[in-house]
Symmetry: C2
Subunit: 115 residues, 2 copies
């Protein structure tokens, strides 16, 4: 598995449980027990998901030994959106050029008719 920051971010987002956890943490910090509550999975499984999210920099953990609350970290999501936006921008630009080209062709045909 690729381990560059962007690949880690997308890999961490490639799981519905992790996305739900992240959406929960975007609403405010929470402990592992609070995060695990709505899920029908073991605390161990939740901890594993949190490790993946933390390794991807999408969350950070507090240092208090017992609770270690989890915080949402939006910066890496921004990098992910930026990558997607760039790819879409290239495509949209090409699409606009194509549209322009088609309009030009239509105009030329119209003018030929007039002549």
């Amino acid at each position: 598995m690729a381990n560059d920051p962007l690949s880690l971010t997308f890999a961490a987002l490639a799981d519905p449980t992790r996305r739900t956890i992240l959406a929960r943490l975007a609403e405010g910090e929470a402990t592992v027990n609070e995060i695990a509550e709505p899920f029908d999975i073991s605390l161990q499984a939740v901890s594993k998901h949190l490790k993946v999210l933390a390794a991807a920099g999408l969350i950070s953990r507090g240092r208090e030994a017992q609770y270690r609350p989890c915080h949402f970290e939006p910066a890496r999501l921004e990098a992910a959106t930026d990558w997607i936006a760039r790819s879409r921008a290239v495509w949209t630009e090409r699409f606009d050029q194509l549209e322009q080209h088609i309009k030009q062709l239509a105009n030329d045909t119209e003018r030929e008719k007039e002549v």
Copy 2:
């Protein structure tokens, strides 16, 4: 591995080679040979990446038996951006509320000083 559409999209994006291929296809359709050209990997490896991108709906393949050119499909990327945007919006809203709260506290302190 989760196989809901959004998870497939993020998993497909979790690889730098696949992201480069997708960026290439956003510029215009290409055959497997054209796509493979800049990479130092086998045609077989490129084909495997294309299968992952196609399974995630990020590209489609033409039906012409020999060349089967690959096309960029932007719709799934939009779904991915939408998910990220929603999580960030929740977080930004909470952040704005916090900022508002801090400003209010500062105003109250200021007023107390005046009294």
